[in-house]
Structures are given as C-alpha cells and as structure tokens.
Symmetry: C2
C-alpha cells in the first residue's frame, strides 16, 4: 500500500486462510508485534510456551478453539479477548470442527504509561470529508 | 469469562455493532491498549488527533473506509494493517455505504525489545489434547 515517514500500511489478503502473518518487519513496528493467525481445524500450537518480557493479548476473530493457560482450559469464540502474562505456560488449539482465527499482540509487560485520551493530542489537518 | 493471576479474559459480544470497546481496564493490560471499534457508515472520528508517546496499529476487520494521515488519504478494507507514529495527524472515516470495524492497538513507541521466537521460552504443561 503506502509508506511515508509517519506511517506504513500493508494488506493481509487472506486473514482466514490457515497460516501466520507476522507484521513486525513489514510495518517496522516499534511498540508491539502483531500477527494474524489461523489454525486449521483440530490443530494446536506445536508446543507449550511462555515469554521472557512480553504480555500477549489475543483477539479471537472467527471460529472456535481452546486456550490452555497454567493448567486451566477454556473455550474461545469470536469476540473473546485474552491477556496472558509473560510467565504463564500457554497453548491454543482449534476445535476439531472449526478453524480458529485470532490476532496476537505481543508487547513488553509494564511498558504502557498512558493510553487513549491520556495519550491523545488534538492535531492540525483537514481530511477531504471535512472540506 | 475467567481470571487468575496469570491471565484475564473477556467477551466482546458484538464486535461489529457500532461503538467502541476499550479493553485496558477490563483486562488489566500493562503493555498495550486494545480496542474494538465499529464506525457507522459515513461516520468519521470526531477530530484529528496525534499521540504523545504511543504508536498505533490498526487491523481492519470488516467494511471499507478511509484513513487520513498527515495530509494523505487511502482506502482500507478487511486485512489492512496500518502502523502510525505518535506525531502523525490522523483521522478515519467509514465509507458512505459501509460500516468499518477495526482493532486499534496503542503501545509506547520504541518499547518493544524482542518479539516472537526471541521472546518465547519452552514451558512445562500438558493440555488435554496432548494427554
């Protein structure tokens, strides 16, 4: 798509096709890694893992699946959002009868100092729809 | 849903209904703010804004719209992912004929030290599907 000094954009053409698209390098991300992931029906991540520094935030977009975190399991579906601390042992599996698509955000635990209105500023500019 | 020391989960029941669900407080996020947003057809954010510290990453889930960044405009659709630096002046508008749904991630620019395999660790555990 387009790139200049202050932004970069890309298109993940098939978000719901089995596979994993990591966006860190394509978008030169500096605050968080974002990936789009689709597990085929019945398939799980290949291993249980934890993290050194990073909190993970999962946004489930489509399908059904199971999260395993520290010995507990729970079902997920469209609209489920899950925060996982770095130390937690985790895995994910798509239901036997359904693919599972989710966005995974990975960012350094404790690094967020302010957000939303607290970090926003009014700025100058005039989009075409305000002319 | 469920909460313990190492994770927290919630359900955004209607991701595609016009409105904005901010997840920072519900999930006790410490690394990034994540919100799920749906702009009604023809509606834009109410003002042009920039950020003090935070990079924003938008993942477009559904519909069509226009991004305005620093005087440039481009169309977005399902699968578009956009990184915007803190200083950029930005706004977003849904197409006249289409709602626009996106995930917005906000995290401190420059805070990510490592990601994906670089931050991952093997962990102990045994999900039901590996028994």
């Amino acid at each position: 798509m387009t790139a200049n000094k202050n932004y970069q954009a890309t298109l993940v053409a098939e978000m719901y096709k089995p596979g994993r698209t990591v966006l860190h390098d394509d978008l030169a991300l500096t605050s968080a890694e974002v990936s789009i992931n689709t597990l085929p029906a019945g398939v799980s991540l290949p291993f249980i893992h934890a993290h050194k520094q990073n909190e993970e935030i999962y946004v489930v977009l489509k399908g059904k699946g199971l999260f395993y975190i520290d010995g507990e399991e729970f079902g997920v579906q469209e609209g489920c959002v899950v925060r996982i601390d770095p130390a937690a042992a985790r895995s994910i599996k798509a239901d036997e009868a359904s693919e599972l698509t989710y966005v995974c955000v990975q960012a350094k635990a404790g690094s967020l100092e302010q957000h939303t209105q607290g970090d926003g500023l009014p700025a100058e500019g005039q989009p075409s729809w305000q002319k």
